[in-house]
Symmetry: C2
Subunit: 433 residues, 2 copies
């Protein structure tokens, strides 16, 4: 399919081509109230302003609902359902198309261009959703295997349930922050000498601060408590995807996680990319995931064998003193279970999901060292170090900035990208105790 | 301290004596919009109506904030902070006192009595808070020990971290429901034959449906992300307590919980009592918890040794055919860690808590069979059955109604009680697969 051409200047290589149209929440110097926008090339189209100036006059479907674009989150827009997301995206594509059937809406309307188009560098991104509940899965099988080998040896690396259900746990919603928010090195309780027979923990600055390369999926369609979502309907409950950095304190994690799972090791901050790429936009990049050699129960069985996405993922690190390096390349394909499977399983005992809930994939690793999605794997728990320019790292140091980049496709005029999610480590507080 | 006497008819033995004044959210036949109320004897005092009719005219502190009483949740009132909760409670006590200094406010004001006092049987209770995040701890040590013996044997019953930190995990906020909401028996993935070498799970109606007797604490004061709450300030971050039934699917739990903890086994529903008992009201019932024989780190060390509450807890079961029985008696004292310790630990890596967040204690069991807070413990995983009238139970059957009752004190004129939290099991849906 040839790239859609636009009358608008969309730079070659932009993640936000006409094939994408991701949604987010912005504010600007001239208007500080957060509102809905889409990203297009180097710009954001403010949909509140666009709607207010009759931008949607040719799209009768959306007219009763235009107030959703003035909301400070995407929750209300997402709750309108996937058919509405689809028509809005297609309409915006047609407004920007070179041969737009609606030239008077924006192409020939310089007043509205001035009021509604902002350079991305001039907009402030906010959290795209008010997140009710956050659930993190563990379906990056290569990561699960590598961690399992470290903790339990190769023979028992994957637990018996791993290939029968998408293993997941509830995460912390309050500490999910948009890209760019600094992450403070936490204090935490951990064992300074885990190998010692006597377990004497300390409470001090953590040493093993790590990132985790994940994808996140936002829920749009709710299900009632007590009513599981059938697997065939699960995809329509998803709004779109972001990149997710689930910052982790490995020293805290290994001490606290038995028997109820990770808690303080992961609830001090998780960062997400600000532009949510719609499920429709990702459709052309569907791919096969990691094959499952177990028979999957019917409530998790998908008709299609392409259920995950071919998203090229990259982790870059920049140190305080300016050394930079790409420390990992991975891909959204490296998942054993798809997001629709995760959602069907999540609701399988009747748990109610709501618009704005976030599902994380768990760390996404490839099969070789340069493809591992966290430092725990890359350094084998800190045993080896990796190169960042002419510096070395086992875990993150103060001042380190971690940036994930994700993009689908190779046609420089039709990329469907996520932009970036970035966060810099600030030194720990002086707690005085 | 002698009981406070009231001009208002508060029946002897009421949980909602003048010593209590718990807060909740109600609606009534005449006004369907949920709003703030307190319970007093057999009645609810509608604080929206009370405020609108100048009920707070003698309390200047609250006047700028009276809009909080028209909110559909306690979040805004709670966020005003403990000093405000204290003065509002004391003022309401003084309004109801026999020798009230404000007789014209309510005692001699039959019009306001008519507008603002509703019989509890005529009010609809709603969830008291909009719950952002829910965290469940596991600090009922007797329960943790008994479960540990079942799963790992007596020698390893408690994990090495157990006495060093309040073990907890993130729960599901969306499925927390007020007392009286029916709970549907879930389907779930589990092993029909866990002992078999080959692990072949099924997805069908769960068999091992259980209750868990817990207390829950609501957060009032937020902390910023990255900033732990010192233990000495932690109590002031708590608004008050409720009883919590954390319904559990034991067959799902034992299959899914390794390595990331309980997930679908506990996210299908949790019930809470509707009236939140303030921390101030519980103060006279402070008691010593379970002694900890480990040295506790300074960030968790409390000055006082009375940090939990002497709350008499009771579990009653009523079957579909009408058999009834008290199946357990326990007490709020049976905790290794207090809620302030749980909160200090929760924030120890910098996790931000917000007004309306809920912390659960975990199941609260005494030391003998009639004091165990769930059926898993009482029946040793279903090996033995318990008597309910002339029926027997290992786990819950359809139509069973579980009711928790909790009360502090023995003076029938000064009880500080929680009322009840109840839920009836509905048969599973016919999913057709």
């Amino acid at each position: 399919m040839p790239a859609l051409r636009s009358w608008f200047n969309i730079p070659r290589g932009s993640h936000f081509s006409l094939a994408n149209i991701p949604f987010g929440i912005i504010s600007t110097a001239t208007s500080e109230s957060p509102r809905v926008a889409v990203a297009i090339g180097d710009h954001a189209l403010d949909l509140e302003a666009f709607a207010a100036h009759n931008g949607f006059s040719a799209l009768s479907t959306i007219q009763p609902y235009q107030a959703v674009f003035s909301e400070p989150s995407l929750n209300a827009f997402a709750a309108l359902g996937r058919p509405i997301h689809s028509v809005v995206r297609k309409y915006i594509q047609s407004v920007f198309a070179e041969d737009t059937p609606y030239p008077d809406v924006l192409k020939n309307n310089s007043a509205l261009q001035k009021d509604a188009l902002f350079a991305l560098k001039d907009v402030q991104n906010h959290l795209p959703f008010k997140i009710g509940d956050y659930t993190d899965f563990f379906v990056g099988m290569n990561h699960a295997y590598n961690c399992g080998v470290m903790f339990r040896g190769a023979a028992n690396a994957l637990n018996p349930n791993y290939k029968h259900l998408p293993v997941g746990y509830h995460g912390r919603a309050s500490s999910i922050v948009p890209s760019g928010t600094p992450i403070r090195r936490p204090h935490g309780q951990f064992l300074p000498n885990p190998a010692a027979e006597e377990k004497v923990p300390v409470y001090t600055q953590i040493k093993k601060l790590d990132y985790e390369l994940e994808l996140g999926a936002f829920v749009c369609k709710p299900n009632k408590m007590g009513e599981p979502v059938p697997i065939g309907e699960a995809e329509d409950h998803l709004f779109g995807l972001v990149m997710l950095n689930d910052w982790s304190a490995r020293d805290v994690q290994s001490w606290e996680y038995i028997p109820l799972g990770p808690f303080n090791a992961k609830n001090f901050g998780s960062s997400i990319s600000p532009w949510v790429v719609l499920i429709d936009a990702l459709e052309p990049f569907k791919a096969k995931g990691i094959p499952n050699d177990k028979e999957v129960l019917p409530y998790l069985k998908e008709k299609d064998d392409k259920t995950v996405y071919d998203i090229q993922l990259k982790v870059d690190l920049k140190t305080k003193s300016g050394s930079t390096g790409t420390v990992a390349n991975s891909n959204g394909k490296h998942l054993l279970w798809s997001f629709p499977q995760c959602l069907a399983h999540h609701t399988s005992t009747g748990c109610n999901l709501q618009p704005g809930d976030l599902l994380g994939s768990g760390t996404i690793s490839g099969t070789s060292a340069g493809e591992y999605g966290c430092l725990l794997e890359q350094t084998e728990g800190g045993k080896n170090s990796i190169k960042v320019g002419d510096e070395e790292r086992t875990f993150l140091q103060d001042g380190d900035e971690v940036t994930f980049t994700g993009v689908c496709g190779t046609d420089e005029e039709a990329l469907v990208g996520f932009g970036q999610v970035t966060g810099r480590i600030e030194p720990a507080l002086n707690l005085g105790y």
